[in-house]
């Protein structure tokens, strides 16, 4: 079930030095700029997948491994607090 980007706050706390949910991000696929809190988020025990609410392509993937958090942000052209 799809959630909001608010759900990224916990897994990414301590990874970025700022609150990512209020940060603005540009989708590398369609170019839309929006706060990450407005992303479409699919959360499961495997990881969190944040998608652009405009084009539904993947912005960000977060996997919380036992040895630390792994973040892939290749769907972000940029991210700005």
């Amino acid at each position: 079930m799809a959630l909001d980007g608010n759900a990224l706050a916990g897994p990414l706390a301590g990874i970025y030095a700022f609150d990512v949910t209020t940060a603005r991000a540009r989708c590398a696929h369609c170019g839309v700029v929006a706060r990450l809190a407005r992303a479409l988020v699919f959360a499961s025990a495997m990881g969190i997948v944040a998608r652009c609410r405009a084009c539904e392509e993947v912005l960000l993937t977060v996997v919380e491994r036992p040895d630390g958090t792994s973040v892939s942000a290749r769907g972000l052209a940029w991210l700005r607090p």
Partner: protein, 197 residues
């Protein structure tokens, strides 16, 4: 070591046969999705195999129904630590799709409707180890669980059993799929507990 929470056990049952290490038995069928559930009806569903020479073989729903159907009862193991015993599937062995495919490539990238991908060695899809399925528990496969058609590769962690499967692309070298790019193991054998890369 984290503190424990008294009385918390999740929804787990005692196992009557061995489980892979670190797994817990469940009676549920948890749904894990990395994206919106694609709406693919049988009339528009297609499955294709793309070889390294550029050749493409395609099957539609009618072609799938004309293939030899098997009933499969198997245990499944999700990397998020749940396992289910004796799940029932109905579908076509992947061997049947490779009968007229000419390929020397050793690896397969599985593609799904919605954009999901996962990688496998071809040998893990052949010799009765994997099925293209369209029924689960005697019912048509629900969209939430990958319907109309889902790949089942029960000897590997369940993320390899791609929901909404639409095709295989043969590859000479192994490339990581969606979760494999994000830190999960390239192969994912539950008995060797190959969860993370």
């Amino acid at each position: 070591m984290a503190i424990t929470t008294r009385g918390f056990g999740g929804r787990r049952a005692p196992a009557e046969k061995p489980l892979p290490p670190g797994q817990f038995l469940t009676e549920d069928f948890p749904v894990l999705s990395a994206g919106p559930t694609p709406n693919v009806d049988e009339a528009h569903w297609q499955f294709s195999v793309h070889t390294e020479s550029g050749e493409v073989r395609r099957w539609d729903w009618a072609a799938l129904m004309a293939m030899p159907v098997e009933d499969v009862t198997t245990d499944i193991h999700c990397v998020t630590r749940w396992s289910r015993f004796d799940t029932q599937w109905r579908g076509v062995s992947v061997d049947a799709f490779f009968e007229d495919v000419e390929s020397e490539a050793e690896f397969v990238m599985v593609h799904s409707y919605g954009g999901y991908t996962t990688n496998l060695p071809l040998e893990d899809l052949l010799d009765g180890k994997a099925w293209i399925t369209f029924e689960h528990g005697g019912e048509p496969l629900a969209p939430l669980h990958g319907g109309p058609v889902r790949l089942i590769v029960p000897h590997l962690y369940f993320w390899k059993s791609a929901k909404w499967v639409r095709g295989f692309v043969m590859q000479e070298h192994e490339e990581p799929g969606f979760w494999e790019q994000n830190g999960y193991h390239l192969y994912g054998d539950p008995w060797l507990e190959q969860r993370y890369a």
